[in-house]
């Protein structure tokens, strides 16, 4: 394993009950890249993503097999502190989920749970994260109103800012723009490109155009299998697998 690989996944299998959602996937994720994961519905993209921060642990019927190494440490080993893992591997969901509290309380939720109480520190974190998610100018005068008051696009950027507050190494995006209009989508995409300076990003998307716009490498999933992974240009111009070509060309999916 070389030093610029942050995640190494070996022979990963995920079952929900009797249904095998991820079938024997092996791949690596590089530091400070945006890895786009594309594929039709039910191809195991989201299941794969949710194994990277062990969010599937919450699903009673879910079973995981194989190895997921974060900086060389198996995150599925018994002595892995899961809250610690999730601090380093943050996640942004398909639909924005602001918690029912103020904008500032949303951002500082993570840090507060880590025991940070100082108001000035929390204010600093709030400003820094909102700026990083390019939301600061829109909300700086109303940090104490409910996060529900924001528009959908703003809420999604709030969720990104909230994830940033824990300074994660990796951020998992699960179709972050599926509920957003084109302008909000463009803003979120710009934010992601900005963020890869400091973070590694894994982006699951149903929108192949989005993958081609923002990602450095692209992985194509189909029916729980990893069909192909490679540099974005290469995947989109010279896919090695026929199925990848068909999907990108819009012949199915």
């Amino acid at each position: 394993m070389n030093d610029d690989t942050i995640f190494v996944i070996n022979n990963l299998r995920v079952w929900y009950g009797a249904v095998e959602a991820v079938r024997n996937i092996s791949c690596g994720i590089r530091r400070h890249e945006i890895l786009g994961i594309i594929g039709p519905a039910n191809s195991g993209k989201t299941s794969f993503l949710r194994t990277l921060n062990r969010l599937n642990d919450l699903v009673p019927s879910c079973r995981t097999e194989g190895e997921v190494l974060l900086n060389g440490v198996d995150i599925y080993s018994d002595d892995m502190p899961v809250p610690e893992l999730r601090k380093r591997v943050g996640m942004v969901f398909a639909l924005p989920v602001p918690l029912p509290m103020s904008i500032m309380d949303n951002i500082t939720y993570g840090p507060r749970m880590q025991g940070i109480r100082s108001r000035s520190t929390l204010s600093e974190i709030t400003e820094k994260c909102l700026r990083a998610a390019s939301l600061w100018d829109e909300v700086k005068d109303r940090l104490h109103v409910s996060a529900f008051r924001l528009s959908g696009g703003q809420q999604q950027r709030l969720c990104i800012a909230r994830t940033l507050a824990l300074q994660p190494d990796v951020i998992l995006f699960d179709e972050p723009c599926s509920g957003l209009d084109p302008i909000s989508t463009a803003k979120v995409e710009a934010t992601m490109v900005e963020l890869k300076q400091r973070h590694t990003i894994v982006l699951v998307t149903n929108n192949t155009k989005q993958a081609s716009r923002v990602s450095d490498r692209v992985a194509f999933f189909l029916q729980g299998e990893l069909v192909e992974i490679g540099a974005t240009d290469r995947i989109f111009t010279a896919p090695r697998d026929r199925r990848t070509e068909d999907y990108i060309a819009g012949r199915f999916g």
Partner: protein, 284 residues
């Protein structure tokens, strides 16, 4: 030709249904209003400051109901102090800390059955267990404990429903922010479930203030103002029941009933008011 069934034109049906629903609602409200007005009309004339603060005189023919107000507050308070943490705790355990298995389903079913058990059974249980076996005697403690046993299933069920109604996404978000299970429960789940949990508790207050069957067996019916948990005491409902049942004084019974109704009304208004303020503060 197919058989033509007689059908009312939709507009007529609409009008008819509207009238029927209107009537149903009207009758329901009328009954409720009638009961309350009847009680207040018969009861309020005897309600004076002395009635509220005076001791029971001559078995209740004269004097006031102060001892039973104190008894009600103590017994209800004690029952809630015991049943709320146990009930909400069990609900949290059942929803957040266990995976759905046959055992949890069995527990849930048992709880549901217990919620339907008539209160007098809990009275009998309290008498046999707390009063006799544990030798607590007829006391506020026995009454409170038995009442708590009666309230427990309801509080568990309502809390569980309230906790289950919290969107899964809140939990996922909270976990994704590096929190432990307990932090997620305390900071994301419970605040959102609180209105539902409180509704269950408020209903329980109403039930315990109005409960007689359990308490006659367990708290006794002393007419002195209680000063310790080990003393017997009667609640307003028990006082009312004895006044009416023994034919001591219907007028005083109505007076007690009026105070009961009014206090339940006040409790509900205050608690729903507080709840509303809490909700609007979180979603403003």
């Amino acid at each position: 030709m197919t058989e033509q069934r007689f059908r009312l034109p939709p507009r007529t049906t609409q009008a008819l249904v509207q009238i029927l629903l209107y009537l149903a609602c009207g009758v329901a409200i009328f009954i409720l209003a009638f009961v309350i007005i009847f009680i207040l009309k018969n009861g309020l004339p005897v309600v004076t400051w002395r009635f509220l603060t005076g001791p029971v005189v001559d078995m209740g023919k004269a004097g006031g109901i102060f001892p039973s107000i104190v008894g009600t507050v103590f017994i209800t308070g004690l029952a809630l102090c015991i049943a709320t943490p146990l009930g909400v705790g069990s609900a949290i355990y059942l929803t957040e800390y266990t995976r759905p298995t046959r055992i949890t389903r069995f527990i849930r079913f048992g709880v549901e059955c217990l919620a339907g058990v008539p209160s007098i059974i809990f009275g009998l249980f309290g008498f046999v267990f707390f009063v006799v076996t544990l030798r607590l005697g007829w006391s506020i403690l026995s009454g409170g404990l038995s009442l708590a046993a009666m309230l427990l299933p309801t509080i568990i069920r309502t809390s569980e429903e309230a906790i289950k109604a919290v969107p899964v996404s809140y939990r996922e978000v909270s976990y994704c922010l590096g929190t432990t299970r307990w932090q997620t429960v305390v900071h994301s789940v419970l605040p959102s479930a609180l209105p539902g949990i409180l509704t269950g508790i408020i209903l329980s207050i109403g039930r315990s203030v109005g409960e007689t069957a359990v308490l006659i067996f367990t708290a006794g019916s002393a007419i002195q103002t209680p000063t310790s948990l080990m003393q017997s005491a009667r609640t307003m409902s028990v006082h009312f029941y004895l006044l009416a049942r023994e034919g001591i004084s219907m007028q005083m019974a109505y007076g007690t009933a009026a105070i009961l109704v009014i206090s339940i009304l006040i409790i509900n208004i205050i608690s729903y008011g507080l709840m509303h303020r809490f909700i609007s503060r979180r979603t403003r």
